[in-house]
């Protein structure tokens, strides 16, 4: 139907409070874009600007090829699901679903038809005459989604819609949301601080920090090829090991071990090595790139043990590496040798934080 485009969006409240500095994005039909970032990164402000609830200081918002930057929220044909659901408490579920359509002077029969359709889809048929106060949290959440769906909007905006649900329900609703919005065939923008939600739901993830887009990519590329230190550290749980190491000719020095650097054009004096805990394993005889250390903490996560290791030979500035090991594996706490598979190692510039790529590997898009 239409693609949503943000061009150099900026929101400045005061010279010191600039939640959104410069954000450009496109979301095509059928695309599910997540804005992922820590609180205060500007993701909600961006969403509110798309909805028209905030006016951008600079920049343009285009829907199709129409400039909607200064259109009233009600005229944009976008539907939004709020974190607090924001159901009208004095109206029944039916009235909540129908209110937006009534304002648009939709014929009565059409309203009934659409409400019926949506309430069947979401299992709300028996609740239509209740008020929001008589519903459980999960039911309210479904009504909130339903209120967006009946609008048959050109763009759907979701602002952390799952954060008020308990963990079990959240997982189920997450799956439902993925299915429901996949059938809508329009752009969906989803704001979350929960990386699991962003990874599982989206076709595209924009990691935001500090008012800028840090990386805009598919979930897999965000995970496997983080563009910079922030993305590397923010996405993935447990967090990626990030170690600042000195370099010698073409090695990075990690304790007693030397980790060979890929062939960078120039070798910096210091470099940040990143490796995800799940990629670190106990070394087998054939492993080349290994480190030795002492285990000082074991956290049992059920399906894995998260093992923290202090690297031998890093006494001056103690370095520790965390490894996610299968629960059936045993090791000696005193002396453990871990393998860092070269294909899973990421390198980052110490100053800019940007990912460094060897001249042979292709650059991240």
């Amino acid at each position: 139907m239409a693609k949503l485009e943000l061009k150099n969006l900026n929101k400045t409240y005061t010279p010191k409070v600039i939640p959104v500095k410069d954000i450009s994005l496109t979301v095509d039909d059928n695309q599910f874009l997540s804005l992922l970032g820590p609180s205060g990164c500007g993701k909600s402000t961006t969403l509110r600007m798309i909805a028209g609830l905030e006016e951008p200081t600079h920049g343009r918002i285009l829907l199709g090829n129409e400039d909607i930057t200064f259109k009233r929220p009600g005229d944009r044909n976008m539907a939004m699901v709020f974190q607090s659901y924001a159901l009208y408490p004095h109206m029944t579920v039916y009235e909540n679903l129908a209110s937006g359509l009534k304002l648009k002077k939709t014929p009565h029969a059409e309203i009934q038809h659409r409400v019926k359709e949506v309430s069947q889809l979401l299992g709300l048929e028996d609740l239509l005459h209740r008020k929001p106060g008589q519903l459980s949290g999960g039911q309210r959440q479904r009504v909130a989604v339903g209120r967006a769906l009946v609008r048959r909007a050109q763009v759907y905006l979701l602002d952390e819609p799952l954060s008020n649900l308990d963990a079990l329900l959240r997982e189920r609703v997450r799956a439902d949301i993925k299915q429901i919005f996949a059938t809508q065939k329009v752009p969906v923008v989803y704001v979350t601080h929960d990386q699991t939600e962003a990874m599982t739901l989206s076709t595209k993830v924009a990691v935001l920090n500090n008012g800028y887009v840090q990386q805009l990519d598919s979930p897999a590329r965000i995970y496997n090829h983080p563009a910079n230190l922030f993305v590397a550290g923010f996405v993935g749980s447990p967090q990626m090991n990030l170690l600042t190491l000195p370099c010698q000719t073409n090695y990075a020095v990690l304790g007693d071990s030397k980790i060979p650097l890929p062939d960078f054009p120039t070798v910096p004096p210091q470099i940040v090595l990143g490796i995800r805990p799940e990629n670190v394993r106990i070394a087998q005889p054939e492993d080349q790139q290994t480190i030795r250390g002492q285990v000082y903490l074991v956290e049992n996560l059920g399906m894995h043990n998260l093992v923290s290791v202090r690297v031998t030979g890093s006494d001056a500035a103690p370095l520790s590496v965390r490894a996610l090991l299968p629960p059936d594996q045993s090791w000696s706490d005193e002396e453990i040798t871990l393998a860092l598979p070269p294909q899973n190692v990421h390198w980052f510039d110490v100053h800019s934080g940007d990912a460094l790529h060897s001249t042979h590997s292709y650059p991240a898009s």
Binding site: G74, F82, L87
Partner: protein, 291 residues
């Protein structure tokens, strides 16, 4: 060592409860009598025959009961007319103060106008003035505008005096409403006025009822303005009408009819408050529970 013998507990608890119960009911009875005694006195007086009212020693509970004072009230005086006047003035000024106060309160709470704090402080300062000080100025204005003996001469001041309270109460109520709700309404396509009328005001009913009733009571009971600005008999309100009840001679004070007038004047308020009681309690305890 620290275990309390259970038998002991069982014997002391009921006795103690009994004691506190008596105390509690005693306290309640005292407060009720303290507050309602003057009202009861008026009620009883309104049913006494004239001899019993003047009797020495005082007759507290009349043996003979009469409705004559009430009948007299409506026969000798246009008391229905007074009731109508009071009701009309009170209802209109209540409606005005809510209709003007609610949008103002919303604007102050959410639209954050330039100088909003100053406006708010100004509104607060207005409430500090004793109404009586405004009286001479108002009289002057009403003379200039030729509003004497016009319902507007009461409706306008009553509305104005009650606006600050309405605005302050409603504003704090609006501020408690979740902001997401307004955002949701705007995304759904409501404009500001539709949102105020269709979404926010229905949620504000307890506050509207509370402030409305307070305004109504004020307007219903107000005396000085009503006494001064209105001189025509058929436009007087109940308090003035009741106060001006005269006896056969200048020396006779018609206690019976005055008491009857007081009761007739108070009854509508009592009915009104009882009717809206639950809403008022909700309004007064607003914010205790998350909306």
């Amino acid at each position: 060592m620290t275990v309390i013998p259970s038998g002991n507990l069982q014997t002391t608890t009921p006795a103690k409860n009994y004691g506190t119960n008596i105390l509690r009911w005693g306290a309640i009875a005292f407060v009720v009598i303290f507050c309602l005694a003057p009202v009861m006195w008026q009620v009883l007086t309104s049913f006494k025959v004239n001899q019993d009212i003047a009797a020495v020693p005082t007759i507290y509970f009349p043996g003979r009961i009469t409705l004559n004072h009430y009948i007299e009230l409506f026969n000798r005086r246009p008391f229905w007319r007074y009731i109508f006047n009071s009701a009309f003035v009170s209802i209109v000024s209540t409606a005005f103060s809510l209709a003007l106060g609610a949008p103002a309160a919303y604007a102050l709470a959410r639209l954050r106008p330039w100088g909003g704090r100053v406006i708010l402080a100004g509104i607060l300062i207005v409430t500090l003035f004793p109404g009586i000080l405004l009286f001479l100025g108002l009289l002057e204005i009403i003379q200039r505008l030729h509003l004497g003996n016009n319902y507007l001469s009461l409706i306008i001041p009553y509305t104005a005096i009650n606006l600050p309270l309405t605005i302050l109460v409603l504003r704090s109520f609006f501020e408690q409403l979740p902001k997401d709700l307004e955002d949701a309404a705007r995304v759904d396509g409501y404009n500001t006025l539709q949102m105020l009328v269709q979404i926010l005001l229905p949620m504000t009913i307890p506050a509207l009822v509370t402030t409305g009733i307070l305004t109504f009571i004020f307007a219903w009971n107000e005396f000085i303005f009503a006494l001064t600005f209105i001189t025509r008999e058929e436009m007087k309100t109940i308090p003035v009408g009741a106060a001006q009840l005269g006896g056969a001679s200048g020396f006779e004070i018609p206690y019976g009819p005055i008491a009857a007038a007081t009761i007739v004047g108070t009854l509508p308020l009592v009915v009104l408050v009882l009717f809206f009681q639950r809403k008022i309690i909700q309004g007064l305890s607003a914010g205790a529970v998350k909306g």
